[in-house]
Symmetry: C2
Subunit: 255 residues, 2 copies
């Protein structure tokens, strides 16, 4: 039975997509059957794994028109790595979904026929707490929060935790916080260390031990449409996501 | 007659708020009467200028309940610098606004009684192309696009330009692109230089000459609730935003 993980943070630019794509690829390298679902109209996870943002079946069809999710899933370059692409059409999904009954549960229903085929299903969310993110939270078993060690990102965490609590009370009683991942961490920068300390004080063992360093190779890889593992496996960024994948399976996989 | 500037980019974390707050303060330091409007439910521009995200009148009242904008404007630390705060309530605004007639024009109508009191009105937008951003685009004379010199941010620009074109055709015929500001630029990083070259090739003179360097003092200042000018005026970040303000008045102020 696959574990569904929503990768969420309404703060923009904190490494949600970079985590979805690279944690996904690293889990697949550990021979876990992994599906990344791109639920962001920007479709960055889609282009970051080499797929176009137009012209192929996408999650828009699944969410808004009720298509079978199997009709959109693509092979993403490793034997057990797959992607369900986004498209520009999703820009209007928030408004279009708001008029449909059971609008928060569309993704959960769509995943019922696919969950058993994967060990991990990672959902990349847009930087907002709108209906697309709420769909991900309603479908998920756990929430993972990438967090840049900076002030504005720190500020937003309490609003995110409130939203998770609200979804747990009204839409998905099983939902829990799987962990916080510190991203773009630069140990030479005081601010990074100070914010990291504050996060660890507050969230304690819910913070993943693996910290993702700032590493330019992670920012270069998407322009080649490849996860870091396939672009530069020896880079610090790649090593960090492989280490994170190992910690991830230890913490989240209930045998 | 004040110039209304929407600071927009649906890509997250590219420096929209940092630009709104610091360009705003620098314009005020040049003795321009400046209002920053925080239209992002994250309320980062609000806390970045030292105001709380709850408990004070906010743009939620203005947009959703039709309050007079003068009832929310606060003094922001320099003689001609003011802020119209956001609040957490704005999270629901996209859905609440969608049920109101004339939903795209709420901000434009609200600003009619205040435009003449300012030389520049800067609107900080959330990382999305939803109703809050469309309200800003409908109220604005020009759009300014902060852009991080990285691949995912570069990819999103064409979607943004399409949205601006659509708003110009249906809601705001005067709207034009005022310029693109390169942010978090690191001249030592190849990727930064490559993306900057691509942006200049495509947008030519619409790219501001002033480039904002990556400077950790810009990321530290918000934790003190101060624009960089008031936190560390000698920093490279502060100098860059003062230079940008000078270029801004040259390019946008029609005398
Ligand atoms: N550890 C890292 N080191 C260096 N660059 C990184 C790292 N992680 C992400 N980046 C880069 O930082 C930018 C922001 O990351 P990313 O797009 O993954 O964040 P996001 O949270 O998905 O953004 P959005 O809120 O727009 O969806 C991207 O250009 C990405 O390539
Ligand atoms: N030139 C810079 N140098 C260093 N850090 C910067 C710079 N500009 C912004 N930052 C930091 O980078 C992060 C992202 O910037 P900011 O929050 O302004 O972007 P944004 O586009 O407003 O994000 P969002 O999409 O969430 O609204 C913040 O932590 C900010 O302090
Ligand atoms: Mg993303
Ligand atoms: Mg912002």
């Amino acid at each position: 039975m696959g574990i569904v993980v929503a990768i969420v943070n309404q703060k923009g630019g904190v490494g949600k997509t970079t985590t979805a794509v690279n944690l996904g690829a690293a889990l697949a390298a550990l021979e876990k059957r992994t599906l990344v679902i791109d639920l962001d109209p920007q479709a960055n996870a889609t282009s970051g794994t080499g797929f176009p943002k137009r012209g192929i079946p996408s999650m828009y069809g699944v969410l808004v028109e009720g298509h079978d999710i199997h009709t959109v899933v693509q092979d993403a370059g490793l034997p057990t790595f797959r992607l369900a692409p986004s498209s520009i059409d999703l820009v209007g999904a928030d408004l279009e979904l708001s008029e449909i009954d059971g609008r928060e549960g569309r993704l959960r229903v769509a995943l019922e026929i696919a969950r058993d085929e994967y060990d991990f299903i990672l959902i990349d969310c847009p930087p907002s707490l709108g209906l697309l993110t709420v769909n991900a939270l309603t479908a998920a078993d756990v929430v993972v929060v990438p967090l840049q060690a900076e002030y504005y990102a720190l500020e937003g965490v309490s609003q995110l935790v409130d939203t998770v609590d609200r979804v747990r009370e009204t839409l998905n009683p099983e939902l829990e916080i799987g962990g916080i991942i510190l991203t773009m961490f630069d140990e030479r920068v005081n601010l990074s260390r100070q914010v990291a300390d504050e996060i660890r004080n507050f969230f304690a063992e819910r913070v993943f031990e693996t910290v993702i360093p700032r590493n330019v190779r992670l920012a270069e890889a998407p322009s080649f449409g490849k996860p870091i593992l396939m672009y530069d496996v020896k880079s610090r960024g790649s090593e960090a996501y492989i280490q994170l994948a190992q910690e991830f399976t230890r913490r989240l996989e209930v045998v």
